[in-house]
Protein backbone atom coordinates (compact mmCIF):
# COMPACT_ATOMS: atom_id res chain seq x y z
CA UNK A 1 0.00 0.00 0.00
CA UNK A 2 2.88 2.40 -0.69
CA UNK A 3 0.61 4.74 -2.66
CA UNK A 4 -1.06 5.59 0.65
CA UNK A 5 2.27 6.99 1.85
CA UNK A 6 2.35 9.62 -0.88
CA UNK A 7 -1.17 10.93 -0.38
CA UNK A 8 -1.79 14.18 1.42
CA UNK A 9 -3.25 14.13 4.92
CA UNK A 10 -6.36 15.92 3.58
CA UNK A 11 -6.86 13.18 0.98
CA UNK A 12 -6.27 10.39 3.51
CA UNK A 13 -8.86 11.99 5.80
CA UNK A 14 -11.39 12.09 2.95
CA UNK A 15 -10.75 8.47 1.96
CA UNK A 16 -11.05 7.26 5.56
CA UNK A 17 -14.26 9.25 6.18
CA UNK A 18 -15.73 7.83 2.95
CA UNK A 19 -14.63 4.35 4.12
CA UNK A 20 -12.72 3.80 0.87
CA UNK A 21 -9.74 2.91 2.99
CA UNK A 22 -9.60 2.19 6.71
CA UNK A 23 -7.58 4.02 9.32
CA UNK A 24 -6.00 0.66 10.13
CA UNK A 25 -4.79 0.22 6.54
CA UNK A 26 -3.34 3.72 6.43
CA UNK A 27 -1.69 3.25 9.82
CA UNK A 28 -0.25 -0.15 8.88
CA UNK A 29 1.23 1.30 5.68
CA UNK A 30 3.05 3.92 7.72
CA UNK A 31 4.17 1.41 10.37
CA UNK A 32 5.63 -0.71 7.56
CA UNK A 33 7.44 2.31 6.17
CA UNK A 34 8.80 3.11 9.64
CA UNK A 35 10.10 -0.46 10.00
CA UNK A 36 11.77 -0.14 6.60
CA UNK A 37 13.56 3.20 6.91
CA UNK A 38 14.06 3.75 10.66
CA UNK A 39 17.41 1.90 10.74
CA UNK A 40 18.69 4.68 8.47
CA UNK A 41 16.73 7.72 9.63
CA UNK A 42 16.24 7.23 13.41
CA UNK A 43 13.36 9.70 13.53
CA UNK A 44 11.49 7.89 16.32
CA UNK A 45 12.34 7.24 19.95
CA UNK A 46 9.32 5.07 20.50
CA UNK A 47 7.04 3.14 18.15
CA UNK A 48 4.43 0.75 19.50
CA UNK A 49 2.40 -0.79 16.65
CA UNK A 50 -0.15 -2.39 18.99
CA UNK A 51 -1.08 0.82 20.79
CA UNK A 52 -1.13 2.70 17.50
CA UNK A 53 -3.26 0.15 15.65
CA UNK A 54 -5.71 0.09 18.58
CA UNK A 55 -6.17 3.86 18.12
CA UNK A 56 -6.77 3.33 14.38
CA UNK A 57 -9.30 0.54 15.01
CA UNK A 58 -11.17 2.79 17.45
CA UNK A 59 -11.42 5.52 14.79
CA UNK A 60 -12.67 3.04 12.20
CA UNK A 61 -15.32 1.89 14.67
CA UNK A 62 -16.42 5.46 15.41
CA UNK A 63 -16.74 6.15 11.67
CA UNK A 64 -18.58 2.86 11.09
CA UNK A 65 -20.92 3.86 13.92
CA UNK A 66 -21.87 6.98 11.98
CA UNK A 67 -19.92 9.48 14.08
CA UNK A 68 -18.81 12.58 12.21
CA UNK A 69 -15.19 13.30 13.10
CA UNK A 70 -12.82 16.03 11.96
CA UNK A 71 -11.08 16.16 8.56
CA UNK A 72 -7.99 14.35 9.88
CA UNK A 73 -9.76 11.46 11.64
CA UNK A 74 -7.79 8.26 11.10
CA UNK A 75 -4.75 10.09 9.71
CA UNK A 76 -1.45 9.14 11.38
CA UNK A 77 0.72 11.73 13.10
CA UNK A 78 4.22 11.50 14.55
CA UNK A 79 4.36 13.24 17.93
CA UNK A 80 7.41 15.09 19.25
CA UNK A 81 8.64 13.40 22.41
CA UNK A 82 8.35 16.57 24.45
CA UNK A 83 4.55 16.32 24.74
CA UNK A 84 3.30 14.06 27.51
CA UNK A 85 1.44 10.91 26.48
CA UNK A 86 -0.09 8.46 28.96
CA UNK A 87 0.19 5.50 26.61
CA UNK A 88 3.77 6.05 25.44
CA UNK A 89 6.98 7.00 27.28
CA UNK A 90 7.97 10.67 27.26
CA UNK A 91 11.69 11.45 27.49
CA UNK A 92 12.32 14.92 25.98
CA UNK A 93 15.37 13.23 24.43
CA UNK A 94 17.00 13.08 27.88
CA UNK A 95 18.45 10.27 29.99
CA UNK A 96 16.97 11.99 33.03
CA UNK A 97 13.48 10.96 31.82
CA UNK A 98 14.36 7.61 30.26
CA UNK A 99 11.31 5.35 30.29
CA UNK A 100 9.08 7.91 32.07
CA UNK A 101 5.35 7.30 31.67
CA UNK A 102 3.53 10.56 32.31
CA UNK A 103 0.34 10.34 34.39
CA UNK A 104 -1.48 12.81 32.11
CA UNK A 105 -1.76 13.82 28.44
CA UNK A 106 -0.62 17.20 27.11
CA UNK A 107 -3.48 19.32 25.75
CA UNK A 108 -2.00 18.97 22.26
CA UNK A 109 -2.01 15.17 22.74
CA UNK A 110 -5.64 15.14 23.95
CA UNK A 111 -6.73 17.28 21.02
CA UNK A 112 -4.99 14.99 18.52
CA UNK A 113 -6.87 12.09 20.09
CA UNK A 114 -10.21 13.95 20.10
CA UNK A 115 -9.79 14.79 16.41
CA UNK A 116 -9.23 11.09 15.71
CA UNK A 117 -5.60 11.41 14.68
CA UNK A 118 -3.59 8.23 15.18
CA UNK A 119 -0.33 8.73 17.07
CA UNK A 120 2.36 6.65 15.35
CA UNK A 121 5.02 7.16 17.98
CA UNK A 122 7.26 9.71 19.65
CA UNK A 123 9.89 11.52 17.62
CA UNK A 124 13.50 12.31 18.43
CA UNK A 125 14.64 15.78 19.44
CA UNK A 126 17.55 17.69 20.87
CA UNK A 127 17.49 17.10 24.62
CA UNK A 128 14.74 19.29 26.14
CA UNK A 129 14.39 20.89 22.69
CA UNK A 130 17.75 22.65 23.06
CA UNK A 131 19.57 22.53 19.75
CA UNK A 132 19.36 22.94 16.00
CA UNK A 133 20.47 19.53 14.75
CA UNK A 134 18.95 16.73 16.92
CA UNK A 135 22.55 15.75 17.71
CA UNK A 136 21.90 16.71 21.34
CA UNK A 137 19.47 13.82 21.77
CA UNK A 138 20.67 11.35 24.41
CA UNK A 139 19.41 8.62 22.07
CA UNK A 140 21.54 9.34 19.01
CA UNK A 141 21.06 11.75 16.11
CA UNK A 142 18.29 11.65 13.51
CA UNK A 143 19.47 11.75 9.91
CA UNK A 144 18.24 13.96 7.08
CA UNK A 145 16.36 11.86 4.47
CA UNK A 146 17.91 14.03 1.72
CA UNK A 147 21.42 13.05 2.77
CA UNK A 148 21.91 10.65 5.65
CA UNK A 149 25.25 12.20 6.57
CA UNK A 150 23.53 15.50 7.39
CA UNK A 151 21.38 16.88 10.20
CA UNK A 152 17.55 17.06 9.87
CA UNK A 153 17.47 20.32 11.80
CA UNK A 154 16.38 20.70 15.39
CA UNK A 155 15.17 20.62 17.88
CA UNK A 156 12.18 18.92 16.19
CA UNK A 157 14.44 16.93 13.83
CA UNK A 158 12.72 13.59 14.38
CA UNK A 159 9.41 15.17 13.38
CA UNK A 160 10.82 16.81 10.25
CA UNK A 161 12.69 13.68 9.15
CA UNK A 162 9.65 11.44 9.74
CA UNK A 163 7.49 13.56 7.43
CA UNK A 164 10.23 14.04 4.80
CA UNK A 165 10.91 10.26 4.78
CA UNK A 166 7.18 9.46 4.31
CA UNK A 167 7.05 7.74 7.70
CA UNK A 168 4.16 10.04 8.62
CA UNK A 169 2.07 12.54 6.66
CA UNK A 170 1.99 14.90 9.65
CA UNK A 171 3.95 15.57 12.81
CA UNK A 172 3.99 17.90 15.78
CA UNK A 173 6.84 20.12 16.85
CA UNK A 174 7.68 22.91 19.24
CA UNK A 175 9.38 26.14 18.27
CA UNK A 176 11.29 28.12 20.90
CA UNK A 177 13.92 29.74 18.65
CA UNK A 178 13.18 28.12 15.28
CA UNK A 179 12.80 24.46 16.25
CA UNK A 180 9.95 23.89 13.79
CA UNK A 181 10.86 26.24 10.94
CA UNK A 182 14.56 25.37 10.69
CA UNK A 183 14.01 21.56 10.57
CA UNK A 184 11.22 22.08 8.01
CA UNK A 185 13.52 24.22 5.84
CA UNK A 186 16.44 21.77 5.82
CA UNK A 187 14.25 18.73 5.06
CA UNK A 188 12.14 20.37 2.32
CA UNK A 189 8.79 20.37 4.12
CA UNK A 190 6.35 22.88 5.66
CA UNK A 191 6.66 23.91 9.31
CA UNK A 192 4.63 26.52 11.17
CA UNK A 193 5.26 28.41 14.39
CA UNK A 194 1.85 29.72 15.48
CA UNK A 195 1.34 32.92 17.43
CA UNK A 196 2.59 32.43 21.00
CA UNK A 197 -0.35 31.36 23.15
CA UNK A 198 -2.31 30.16 20.12
CA UNK A 199 -1.46 26.55 20.94
CA UNK A 200 -1.36 25.16 24.46
CA UNK A 201 1.81 24.51 26.46
CA UNK A 202 0.02 22.32 29.03
CA UNK A 203 1.88 19.01 29.17
CA UNK A 204 4.66 20.34 26.97
CA UNK A 205 7.90 19.77 28.91
CA UNK A 206 9.07 23.35 29.43
CA UNK A 207 12.28 24.78 28.00
CA UNK A 208 11.68 28.55 27.86
CA UNK A 209 8.10 29.25 28.87
CA UNK A 210 7.78 32.73 27.34
CA UNK A 211 8.91 31.37 23.95
CA UNK A 212 7.81 27.71 23.62
CA UNK A 213 5.11 27.27 20.94
CA UNK A 214 3.67 23.99 19.63
CA UNK A 215 3.09 23.83 15.88
CA UNK A 216 2.61 21.49 12.90
CA UNK A 217 4.78 19.89 10.21
CA UNK A 218 3.40 18.56 6.91
CA UNK A 219 4.46 17.98 3.31
CA UNK A 220 2.11 20.70 2.07
CA UNK A 221 0.62 23.93 3.36
CA UNK A 222 -3.02 22.80 3.54
CA UNK A 223 -2.14 19.72 5.60
CA UNK A 224 -0.16 21.89 8.01
CA UNK A 225 -3.17 24.20 8.37
CA UNK A 226 -5.49 21.26 9.08
CA UNK A 227 -3.20 19.98 11.84
CA UNK A 228 -2.72 23.51 13.20
CA UNK A 229 -6.49 23.89 13.50
CA UNK A 230 -6.89 20.43 15.05
CA UNK A 231 -4.74 21.08 18.13
CA UNK A 232 -4.82 24.87 18.59
CA UNK A 233 -7.12 27.22 20.45
CA UNK A 234 -7.70 28.43 23.98
CA UNK A 235 -6.91 26.10 26.86
CA UNK A 236 -7.88 26.82 30.45
CA UNK A 237 -4.94 24.70 31.59
CA UNK A 238 -2.42 27.15 30.10
CA UNK A 239 -2.63 30.59 31.69
CA UNK A 240 -0.75 32.19 28.76
CA UNK A 241 -3.17 30.70 26.23
CA UNK A 242 -4.83 33.39 24.09
CA UNK A 243 -8.57 33.83 24.53
CA UNK A 244 -9.36 34.12 20.83
CA UNK A 245 -10.53 31.98 17.95
CA UNK A 246 -7.91 30.14 15.94
CA UNK A 247 -7.20 32.34 12.89
CA UNK A 248 -8.85 30.96 9.69
CA UNK A 249 -5.76 29.01 8.66
CA UNK A 250 -7.45 26.29 6.58
CA UNK A 251 -9.48 28.79 4.58
CA UNK A 252 -6.31 30.82 3.97
CA UNK A 253 -4.40 27.74 2.77
CA UNK A 254 -7.19 27.02 0.30
CA UNK A 255 -7.40 30.64 -0.83
CA UNK A 256 -3.71 30.95 -1.81
CA UNK A 257 -4.25 34.36 -3.41
CA UNK A 258 -1.80 37.17 -2.75
CA UNK A 259 -2.72 39.79 -5.34
CA UNK A 260 -2.15 43.23 -3.81
CA UNK A 261 -0.50 41.82 -0.68
CA UNK A 262 2.33 43.99 0.69
CA UNK A 263 5.48 41.95 1.30
CA UNK A 264 8.55 43.25 3.14
CA UNK A 265 12.01 41.80 2.61
CA UNK A 266 13.97 42.05 5.86
CA UNK A 267 17.10 43.99 4.91
CA UNK A 268 19.13 42.66 7.84
CA UNK A 269 18.83 38.99 6.78
CA UNK A 270 21.35 38.41 4.00
CA UNK A 271 24.94 38.92 3.00
CA UNK A 272 27.88 37.54 4.95
CA UNK A 273 27.31 34.15 6.55
CA UNK A 274 24.52 33.24 4.13
CA UNK A 275 25.09 30.44 1.65
CA UNK A 276 24.90 31.70 -1.97
CA UNK A 277 22.46 28.95 -2.98
CA UNK A 278 20.15 29.93 -0.12
CA UNK A 279 20.17 33.57 -1.15
CA UNK A 280 19.63 32.66 -4.83
CA UNK A 281 16.50 30.62 -4.06
CA UNK A 282 15.27 33.31 -1.68
CA UNK A 283 15.64 36.07 -4.28
CA UNK A 284 13.80 33.92 -6.82
CA UNK A 285 11.00 33.41 -4.28
CA UNK A 286 10.73 37.17 -3.83
CA UNK A 287 10.50 37.62 -7.63
CA UNK A 288 7.84 34.92 -7.66
CA UNK A 289 5.80 36.80 -5.05
CA UNK A 290 5.97 39.90 -7.25
CA UNK A 291 4.88 37.91 -10.30
CA UNK A 292 1.87 36.67 -8.30
CA UNK A 293 0.76 40.25 -7.70
CA UNK A 294 2.39 41.08 -4.37
CA UNK A 295 3.94 44.49 -3.80
CA UNK A 296 7.46 43.93 -2.52
CA UNK A 297 9.45 46.51 -0.57
CA UNK A 298 12.60 46.34 1.52
CA UNK A 299 12.04 46.84 5.25
CA UNK A 300 14.67 47.54 7.88
CA UNK A 301 14.45 45.94 11.32
CA UNK A 302 17.58 47.37 12.95
CA UNK A 303 17.30 45.48 16.25
CA UNK A 304 17.07 42.05 14.64
CA UNK A 305 20.87 41.87 14.66
CA UNK A 306 20.68 41.68 18.45
CA UNK A 307 18.00 39.00 18.56
CA UNK A 308 20.47 36.10 18.70
CA UNK A 309 22.46 37.35 21.72
CA UNK A 310 19.23 38.42 23.48
CA UNK A 311 17.72 34.99 22.86
CA UNK A 312 20.80 33.21 24.24
CA UNK A 313 20.35 35.13 27.47
CA UNK A 314 16.56 34.87 27.79
CA UNK A 315 16.11 31.22 26.77
CA UNK A 316 18.90 29.85 29.02
CA UNK A 317 17.64 31.99 31.92
CA UNK A 318 14.16 30.52 31.62
CA UNK A 319 15.63 27.04 31.10
CA UNK A 320 17.78 27.23 34.22
CA UNK A 321 14.65 27.92 36.23
CA UNK A 322 12.39 25.40 34.44
CA UNK A 323 14.86 22.54 34.64
CA UNK A 324 15.27 22.96 38.39
CA UNK A 325 12.28 20.61 38.61
CA UNK A 326 14.53 17.69 37.66
CA UNK A 327 15.60 17.16 41.25
CA UNK A 328 15.63 13.33 41.43
CA UNK A 329 12.82 13.37 43.98
CA UNK A 330 9.43 12.90 42.32
CA UNK A 331 10.07 11.37 38.92
CA UNK A 332 12.89 10.55 36.54
CA UNK A 333 16.42 9.42 37.21
CA UNK A 334 17.98 9.20 40.69
CA UNK A 335 21.71 8.50 41.05
CA UNK A 336 23.84 7.87 44.15
CA UNK A 337 21.08 7.35 46.73
CA UNK A 338 23.07 4.90 48.86
CA UNK A 339 21.77 5.96 52.26
CA UNK A 340 24.84 8.06 53.09
CA UNK A 341 24.42 10.97 50.69
CA UNK A 342 22.25 14.02 51.26
CA UNK A 343 19.38 15.04 49.00
CA UNK A 344 21.54 17.83 47.61
CA UNK A 345 24.38 15.47 46.73
CA UNK A 346 21.99 13.02 45.09
CA UNK A 347 20.41 15.88 43.17
CA UNK A 348 23.77 17.14 41.88
CA UNK A 349 24.97 13.67 40.91
CA UNK A 350 21.67 12.89 39.17
CA UNK A 351 21.66 16.10 37.17
CA UNK A 352 25.31 15.63 36.17
CA UNK A 353 24.57 12.09 35.00
CA UNK A 354 21.15 12.75 33.46
CA UNK A 355 21.67 15.97 31.49
CA UNK A 356 23.77 16.19 28.33
CA UNK A 357 26.40 18.87 27.60
CA UNK A 358 24.14 21.42 25.85
CA UNK A 359 21.57 21.33 28.65
CA UNK A 360 24.32 21.78 31.24
CA UNK A 361 25.78 24.70 29.26
CA UNK A 362 22.43 26.45 29.08
CA UNK A 363 21.54 25.87 32.73
CA UNK A 364 24.86 27.40 33.79
CA UNK A 365 24.61 30.25 31.28
CA UNK A 366 21.11 31.05 32.54
CA UNK A 367 22.19 30.83 36.16
CA UNK A 368 24.98 33.27 35.32
CA UNK A 369 22.70 35.72 33.48
CA UNK A 370 20.26 35.75 36.41
CA UNK A 371 22.95 36.18 39.09
CA UNK A 372 22.80 39.34 41.15
CA UNK A 373 25.45 41.68 39.81
CA UNK A 374 25.00 40.40 36.25
CA UNK A 375 21.20 40.49 36.00
CA UNK A 376 20.89 44.06 34.72
CA UNK A 377 23.74 43.76 32.24
CA UNK A 378 22.58 40.48 30.76
CA UNK A 379 19.01 39.33 31.42
CA UNK A 380 17.62 42.83 31.97
CA UNK A 381 19.31 44.23 28.88
CA UNK A 382 18.15 41.23 26.81
CA UNK A 383 14.57 41.95 27.88
CA UNK A 384 14.94 45.52 26.64
CA UNK A 385 16.25 44.25 23.31
CA UNK A 386 13.17 42.05 23.22
CA UNK A 387 11.00 45.16 23.45
CA UNK A 388 12.95 46.76 20.58
CA UNK A 389 12.48 43.68 18.41
CA UNK A 390 8.72 43.77 18.99
CA UNK A 391 8.77 47.47 18.06
CA UNK A 392 10.66 46.66 14.84
CA UNK A 393 7.95 44.14 13.96
CA UNK A 394 5.18 46.63 14.82
CA UNK A 395 6.75 49.29 12.62
CA UNK A 396 7.27 46.81 9.78
CA UNK A 397 3.69 45.56 9.93
CA UNK A 398 2.47 49.15 9.57
CA UNK A 399 4.13 49.14 6.15
CA UNK A 400 3.58 45.58 4.97
CA UNK A 401 1.27 42.59 5.53
CA UNK A 402 4.02 39.98 5.85
CA UNK A 403 7.80 39.89 6.11
CA UNK A 404 9.96 37.37 4.28
CA UNK A 405 13.50 36.04 4.72
CA UNK A 406 15.43 32.83 4.21
CA UNK A 407 14.44 30.46 7.04
CA UNK A 408 18.06 29.52 7.72
CA UNK A 409 21.39 30.98 6.57
CA UNK A 410 22.59 27.60 5.25
CA UNK A 411 21.26 24.25 4.08
CA UNK A 412 21.57 21.13 6.28
CA UNK A 413 25.12 20.84 7.60
CA UNK A 414 27.02 17.55 8.12
CA UNK A 415 26.43 15.66 11.36
CA UNK A 416 29.29 16.45 13.72
CA UNK A 417 30.36 19.68 12.01
CA UNK A 418 29.08 22.04 14.72
CA UNK A 419 28.52 19.51 17.52
CA UNK A 420 31.12 20.94 19.88
CA UNK A 421 30.99 24.54 18.68
CA UNK A 422 27.91 26.05 20.37
CA UNK A 423 28.18 29.49 18.78
CA UNK A 424 28.32 28.02 15.24
CA UNK A 425 25.29 25.89 16.08
CA UNK A 426 23.35 28.87 17.42
CA UNK A 427 23.70 30.71 14.07
CA UNK A 428 21.27 28.22 12.50
CA UNK A 429 18.44 30.13 14.22
CA UNK A 430 19.55 33.62 13.20
CA UNK A 431 16.45 34.39 11.10
CA UNK A 432 13.86 32.54 13.15
CA UNK A 433 14.59 33.90 16.64
CA UNK A 434 13.09 37.42 16.29
CA UNK A 435 9.62 35.90 15.82
CA UNK A 436 9.93 33.90 19.04
CA UNK A 437 10.98 36.99 20.99
CA UNK A 438 8.02 38.98 19.63
CA UNK A 439 5.50 36.14 19.83
CA UNK A 440 4.14 36.54 16.30
CA UNK A 441 3.49 33.84 13.67
CA UNK A 442 5.86 32.50 11.00
CA UNK A 443 5.99 29.59 8.57
CA UNK A 444 8.71 27.94 6.49
CA UNK A 445 7.83 26.59 3.06
CA UNK A 446 10.21 24.91 0.58
CA UNK A 447 11.52 27.26 -2.11
CA UNK A 448 14.00 25.08 -4.01
CA UNK A 449 17.39 23.41 -3.80
CA UNK A 450 20.71 25.19 -3.32
CA UNK A 451 22.98 24.91 -6.34
CA UNK A 452 26.09 24.03 -4.31
CA UNK A 453 24.75 20.93 -2.59
CA UNK A 454 21.30 20.15 -4.02
CA UNK A 455 19.75 20.48 -0.55
CA UNK A 456 16.42 22.14 0.35
CA UNK A 457 16.05 25.84 1.09
CA UNK A 458 13.17 27.31 3.11
CA UNK A 459 11.33 30.59 2.65
CA UNK A 460 10.23 32.14 5.96
CA UNK A 461 7.01 34.16 5.96
CA UNK A 462 6.38 36.19 9.12
CA UNK A 463 2.99 37.67 10.06
CA UNK A 464 1.74 39.77 12.97
CA UNK A 465 0.39 38.33 16.21
CA UNK A 466 -2.76 36.31 15.37
CA UNK A 467 -2.05 36.81 11.66
CA UNK A 468 -1.29 33.08 11.31
CA UNK A 469 -3.69 32.84 8.36
CA UNK A 470 -1.47 35.19 6.34
CA UNK A 471 1.44 32.73 6.66
CA UNK A 472 -0.74 30.01 5.16
CA UNK A 473 -2.17 32.23 2.44
CA UNK A 474 1.25 33.31 1.21
CA UNK A 475 2.78 29.88 1.80
CA UNK A 476 0.07 28.19 -0.25
CA UNK A 477 0.45 30.70 -3.11
CA UNK A 478 4.21 30.12 -3.24
CA UNK A 479 3.74 26.36 -3.01
CA UNK A 480 1.23 26.28 -5.86
CA UNK A 481 3.36 28.40 -8.17
CA UNK A 482 6.55 26.47 -7.43
CA UNK A 483 4.92 23.06 -7.76
CA UNK A 484 3.54 24.11 -11.15
CA UNK A 485 7.08 25.06 -12.12
CA UNK A 486 8.66 21.89 -10.67
CA UNK A 487 5.90 19.51 -11.79
CA UNK A 488 5.32 18.30 -8.22
CA UNK A 489 6.50 18.87 -4.70
CA UNK A 490 10.15 19.50 -3.85
CA UNK A 491 10.26 16.20 -1.96
CA UNK A 492 9.86 14.26 -5.22
CA UNK A 493 13.46 15.31 -5.91
CA UNK A 494 14.72 13.66 -2.71
CA UNK A 495 16.63 10.39 -3.05
CA UNK A 496 14.61 7.25 -2.35
CA UNK A 497 15.41 5.49 0.91
CA UNK A 498 14.00 2.09 -0.04
CA UNK A 499 16.06 -1.07 -0.03
CA UNK A 500 19.81 -1.05 0.09
CA UNK A 501 20.35 1.31 -2.80
CA UNK A 502 20.86 4.51 -0.84
CA UNK A 503 24.14 6.15 -1.54
CA UNK A 504 25.27 9.61 -0.69
CA UNK A 505 26.22 11.13 -4.02
Amino acid sequence: MTELLHKTAAELGRLIAAREVSAVEVTQAHLDRIAEVEPKVNAFLHVDPETTLAQARAVDERIAGGERLGPLAGVPVAHKDVFTTTDMPTTAGSKILEGWRPPYDATVTSRLREAGLVILGKTNLDEFAMGSSTENSAYGPTRNPWDLSRIPGGSSGGSSAAVAAYEAPLSTGTDTGGSIRQPAAVTGIVGMKPTYGGSSRYGLIAFASSLDTPGPFARNVLDAALLHEAFSGHDVMDSTSIHAHVPPVVEAARQADIAGLRVGVVKEFGGEGYQPGVLARFHEAVELLESLGAKVVEVSCPSFGYALPAYYLIAPSECSSNLARFDAMRYGLRVGDDGTRSAEEVMSMTRAAGFGPEVKRRIMLGTYALSSGYYDAYYGQAQKVRTLISRDFDAAFHQVDVLVSPTTPTTAFPIGERADDPMAMYLADLCTIPTNLAGNAAISVPCGLADEDGLPVGLQIMAPVLGDDRCYRVGAAVEKALEDRWGGSLLTKAPALEGLGYQHG
Partner: protein, 99 residues
Protein backbone atom coordinates in the same frame (compact mmCIF):
# COMPACT_ATOMS: atom_id res chain seq x y z
CA UNK B 1 40.87 38.73 29.49
CA UNK B 2 38.18 36.12 29.75
CA UNK B 3 34.53 36.99 30.18
CA UNK B 4 34.04 34.19 32.67
CA UNK B 5 36.64 32.31 34.73
CA UNK B 6 36.91 28.62 35.53
CA UNK B 7 36.26 29.39 39.22
CA UNK B 8 33.06 31.20 38.27
CA UNK B 9 31.96 28.21 36.21
CA UNK B 10 32.67 25.90 39.17
CA UNK B 11 30.50 28.19 41.31
CA UNK B 12 27.73 28.17 38.68
CA UNK B 13 27.85 24.36 38.55
CA UNK B 14 27.36 24.24 42.33
CA UNK B 15 24.46 26.71 42.16
CA UNK B 16 22.97 24.67 39.30
CA UNK B 17 23.32 21.41 41.29
CA UNK B 18 25.55 19.86 38.65
CA UNK B 19 28.33 17.66 40.08
CA UNK B 20 30.77 18.21 37.22
CA UNK B 21 34.14 16.50 36.87
CA UNK B 22 37.28 18.65 36.55
CA UNK B 23 37.68 17.99 32.83
CA UNK B 24 34.04 18.94 32.24
CA UNK B 25 34.64 22.22 34.07
CA UNK B 26 37.65 22.98 31.86
CA UNK B 27 35.66 22.26 28.72
CA UNK B 28 32.58 24.25 29.76
CA UNK B 29 34.67 27.17 31.03
CA UNK B 30 36.21 27.65 27.60
CA UNK B 31 32.84 27.37 25.82
CA UNK B 32 30.92 29.55 28.28
CA UNK B 33 33.63 32.18 28.00
CA UNK B 34 33.09 32.28 24.24
CA UNK B 35 29.27 32.34 24.58
CA UNK B 36 29.22 35.04 27.27
CA UNK B 37 31.56 37.19 25.17
CA UNK B 38 29.17 36.81 22.22
CA UNK B 39 25.92 37.48 24.08
CA UNK B 40 27.47 40.48 25.86
CA UNK B 41 26.82 42.31 22.56
CA UNK B 42 23.38 43.17 23.92
CA UNK B 43 25.17 45.89 25.90
CA UNK B 44 25.83 47.77 22.62
CA UNK B 45 22.14 48.59 22.34
CA UNK B 46 21.24 51.99 23.77
CA UNK B 47 18.15 51.02 25.72
CA UNK B 48 18.19 53.06 28.91
CA UNK B 49 14.66 54.35 28.42
CA UNK B 50 13.27 51.12 26.96
CA UNK B 51 10.97 49.05 29.18
CA UNK B 52 11.92 45.36 29.48
CA UNK B 53 9.62 42.66 28.06
CA UNK B 54 9.41 39.48 30.12
CA UNK B 55 6.81 38.22 27.71
CA UNK B 56 5.98 38.72 24.05
CA UNK B 57 2.30 39.48 24.53
CA UNK B 58 0.54 41.54 27.18
CA UNK B 59 -0.61 39.27 29.98
CA UNK B 60 -3.21 39.68 32.64
CA UNK B 61 -3.63 37.42 35.60
CA UNK B 62 -5.98 34.55 34.95
CA UNK B 63 -8.41 33.43 37.60
CA UNK B 64 -10.63 30.39 37.66
CA UNK B 65 -13.43 29.43 40.01
CA UNK B 66 -12.12 27.77 43.17
CA UNK B 67 -13.79 24.45 42.53
CA UNK B 68 -12.70 20.91 43.17
CA UNK B 69 -11.66 19.27 39.92
CA UNK B 70 -10.37 15.88 38.94
CA UNK B 71 -6.68 15.49 39.76
CA UNK B 72 -4.04 12.79 39.95
CA UNK B 73 -4.58 9.91 42.37
CA UNK B 74 -1.73 9.24 44.83
CA UNK B 75 -0.89 6.16 42.77
CA UNK B 76 -0.63 8.22 39.57
CA UNK B 77 1.37 10.97 41.26
CA UNK B 78 3.83 8.41 42.66
CA UNK B 79 3.98 6.32 39.48
CA UNK B 80 7.27 7.83 38.27
CA UNK B 81 8.92 8.26 41.66
CA UNK B 82 12.45 6.89 42.12
CA UNK B 83 11.50 5.66 45.61
CA UNK B 84 8.18 5.44 47.46
CA UNK B 85 7.36 4.70 51.09
CA UNK B 86 3.92 4.70 52.73
CA UNK B 87 2.25 6.43 49.76
CA UNK B 88 4.83 9.21 49.87
CA UNK B 89 7.95 10.19 47.92
CA UNK B 90 10.96 8.75 49.75
CA UNK B 91 13.90 11.14 49.53
CA UNK B 92 17.50 11.12 50.78
CA UNK B 93 18.18 12.94 54.04
CA UNK B 94 17.63 16.65 53.72
CA UNK B 95 19.67 17.81 56.75
CA UNK B 96 23.35 17.24 57.58
CA UNK B 97 24.32 14.46 60.02
CA UNK B 98 24.88 16.84 62.92
CA UNK B 99 21.82 18.97 62.33
Amino acid sequence: MSAITRDEVAHLARLSRLALADEELDHFAAQLDQIVAAVARVAEVAADDIPPSSHALPLTNVFRPDEVRASLTPEQALSGAPAVEDDRFRVPRILGEEA
